[in-house]
Amino acid sequence: MLHTGKKRVRKAALIGLAGALVVSVSACAESDRGDSGSGESGGTLVFGAAGKPKNFDPIFNDDGETFRIQRQMYDTLITYKPGTAELEPGLATEWEPSNEGKTWTFTLREDVKFHDGTDFNAEAVCANFDRWHNLPSAAAQSQAIYYGDVFGGFAENKGDATGEPLYKSCEADGENTAVVNLGKAKGAFPDAFGLTSFSISSPTAMEKHNADEVTQTGGAFSYSDYANKFPTGTGPFKFESYKPQNNTVTLVRNDDYWGEKAKLDKVVFKIIEDENARKQELEAGSIQAYDFPSPAHYQSLEDNGQKILSRPNFNILYLGINQEGNPKLKDVRVRQAIQYAINKKQLAQNQLPRGATGRDQFLPDTLDGFTKDVEKFPYSQEDAKRLLKEAGAENLTLKFYVPTEVSRPYLPNPQAVGGAIADDLEKVGIKVETVLRPWNGGFKDDVQKLGKQDIHLLGWTGDYGDAGNFIGTFFGREKAEFGFNNPEIFDALSRADATVDDAEQKKDYEEAAQKIAEFIPAVPLTSSPAALAVSPKVHGIVPSPLTDERFSTVTVEES
């Protein structure tokens, strides 16, 4: 834990505050547990999942529903402290950058075994890195989305894949030290090592079950036996079965877990796509917890004795502005007017779950790079009208693209939010033509590839605790989505990303955040806590800003 200390503790305090209530609940649970002792029968947790898992090989996945299951079976080198985006030791007890951030040295935990009995050691870690880097087919590469994203590319880019791979090599320095060499420094590290996609799999199991075999048949992929039937990690639970016929994934306790053993005998994920049905199943007692309750159901769930656990905010909803879409939008005063015109506080209250807040900037409070010292535009119809008049844009008409057929924690009901914003804009005299496009059927193309819109609704949930993962992703380069070219912002962001020193990086991101707030490439709107609904019988679930809840600490009261 040499390096982790200083930088992250600050964050912990802040995120911790948001989750204070929950932490205290878990603290209680912890003290209860003292009596029961470990390893005893702990019952079953049935968790209502919102979607089907794609497969169980972490490297080939990028969605929350699959990750939730994998997190119980796998460990990453570095992991996140429960309830925060703060790092803590996972399979590596210490990690240390050197060579200007181009080399990462991991000190590994001893006496850890994979579920199949294989020893966990430096060789196993390097086998995983090498496997990722050398993914053989276009199919496999196209599915390793986070790897491609974080590490830039593969040993041999297949198909249409492009990009310079960041990864150079991994060397085992004895049993318990793994050294990873990169081509250049990247600000996303070390946080990105905690991504679930980079979970460490058993090399024996991967080889035995042909893990890399991803084949394309008829417009879709099929995965290896490893990914479908034999996922093998080091985590507190082991894979038992996936039964598509009754939509359940069952995990059982790993009695040889290296850390504190799980209390539960079993975790069952029951996939129930419909939120209404999840709520009723929870109330009927056939599941004990579920993800993403509808904000409209909070009250009635609580009235029925269920608990709502809100995760600390780690997302942002924004109103994108495409400066190429309408020449008037190139005028910063018009963009300021839009900022002023929107009643973010009311939006949060009316259409978003409790705990949602209006935002002045894109970064969550808890991230390095957040600064209070940015230009603000509190709700004011007068200011909006004045600025529009000054800019000669009184008769402004904007094409407003709103996605449909999608629901995200930061945007539970896009049409409702879009309607409220359109209403706000109309009230300061901007004519709004709302264009509704299905999320998977044209919205992304129109907005992010073709830039057909003037303004649009989009958002983001952070993957790990790094400012670049937010503003770098949005404004790091010229994009059709925003239609601006501001080298000052681009430079500031890429400089921050390449900075290894924490304090310097923080300053760089703060600077970039200020520039963005001034330039208004998009209007930050709101940030909404994603929630879990939990039966009162369940203790020990710690909501995580990264939706990284581990069920090893969970207990379920016998009914």
């Binding site: 209404n276 509808s294 009250q299 009635s300 009316n350 449909t404 496009r437 299905p438 059927g441 044209g442």
Partner: protein, 311 residues
């Protein structure tokens, strides 16, 4: 060899088509019988009220149904939706619109969707059926083969498939998807009625007198063939409204909440059933009553026109 199911569906349409046989005098006769039938009167009253409401909705609505009101929004959260308050008879909906005004205007939108879907069904269907009936021969064969294919599909599945094949859904895709269900029915209906008419005495007489074919078709055949079309249209209105609601529920409806349509209002408000039950129950009740009204009217019309039931 024709599949039995298809044949049965055809027969049911053809039976109705025959009802037009006796012509205009029959319509008068039917009207007289309808007036004595309490079921018909109930249906007619519901339909009349609904249509009047729909037409007058913009004038009756106390508030602008397309404006979100600050008074409502101030108290609105997803967990509590304001109930009745001064000026807002039924309070707010989940967006901050005036629920009462939205329900009123919803009648209009619902009628528009129902009527347009039915009209398209009638127009396209009758054009196809009329061409087939007037020309016969290969035109008839080809057109009827086409309608048979449409007729073979279960209604809501046809609507779903059509809706799913549009790039995006909006008011028009809903109308078109719903009308696709009606097109083959009307095509077959009008064709059948025209064939029946063609052999009726007054048409034979007109033809024998050397009246031109076009005149015969428009003056003599069409007017009489229209009676069963009107009956079927009444029934189609009911199913169109329900089908449109089902599409909304499946997420294939008109996604724009600023247009108040009962089906959409119902589909969107189900999660608020515990927060404010009337958000779901009022549009649901409205749909049921109106669909029932059209069904009662249509069924009693059909019965009144049924030559077998006449005594």
């Amino acid at each position: 060899m024709t599949p039995k199911l298809l044949q049965r569906r055809r027969e049911r349409i053809d039976e109705l088509a025959d009802a037009g046989d006796a012509g205009v005098s029959l319509a008068k006769d039917a009207l007289r019988r309808m007036r004595a039938n309490p079921v018909a009167i109930t249906g007619a009253i519901i339909v009349a009220l609904f249509v009047v409401l729909a037409i007058l909705a913009p004038f009756l609505a106390p508030k602008d149904p397309r404006t979100q009101y600050a008074e409502l929004k101030n108290q609105l959260t997803p967990e509590s939706i304001p109930g009745p308050m001064p000026g807002f008879l039924l309070g707010s909906d989940q967006y901050g619109y005036d629920l009462f005004s939205r329900l009123l205007v919803g009648a209009q939108q619902t009628l528009i969707v129902g009527v347009l879907a039915t009209l398209i069904g009638v127009a396209v269907g009758c054009t196809l059926g009329g061409l087939a009936g007037a020309f016969g021969g290969w035109v008839d064969t080809a057109l009827m083969r086409f309608t048979d294919i449409l007729l073979s599909f279960p209604s809501i599945l046809l609507a779903i498939s059509v809706a799913a094949l549009f790039a995006e859904t909006n008011q028009w895709t809903v109308i078109i998807a719903v009308s696709m269900v009606a097109i083959p029915v009307f095509a077959r209906l009008l064709r059948g009625a025209m064939l029946a008419q063609r052999h009726s005495d007054h048409v034979l007489a007109a033809t024998a007198l050397g009246v031109r074919r076009r005149t015969v078709v428009f003056r003599h055949i069409l007017p009489n063939a229209l009676t069963p079309v009107i009956v079927q249209a009444t029934l189609t209105l009911a199913t169109s409204i329900i089908d449109a609601a089902a599409l909304s529920f499946l997420g294939l409806g008109d996604p724009d909440p600023s247009r108040a349509e009962w089906g959409l209002m119902l589909a969107e408000s189900q999660q608020f059933i515990e927060v404010k039950p009337e958000l779901a129950f009022l549009p649901a009740a409205a749909i049921i009553i109106v669909a029932l009204g059209f069904t009662l009217l249509g069924e009693s019309l059909r019965e009144a026109l049924d030559p077998k039931k006449r005594r």
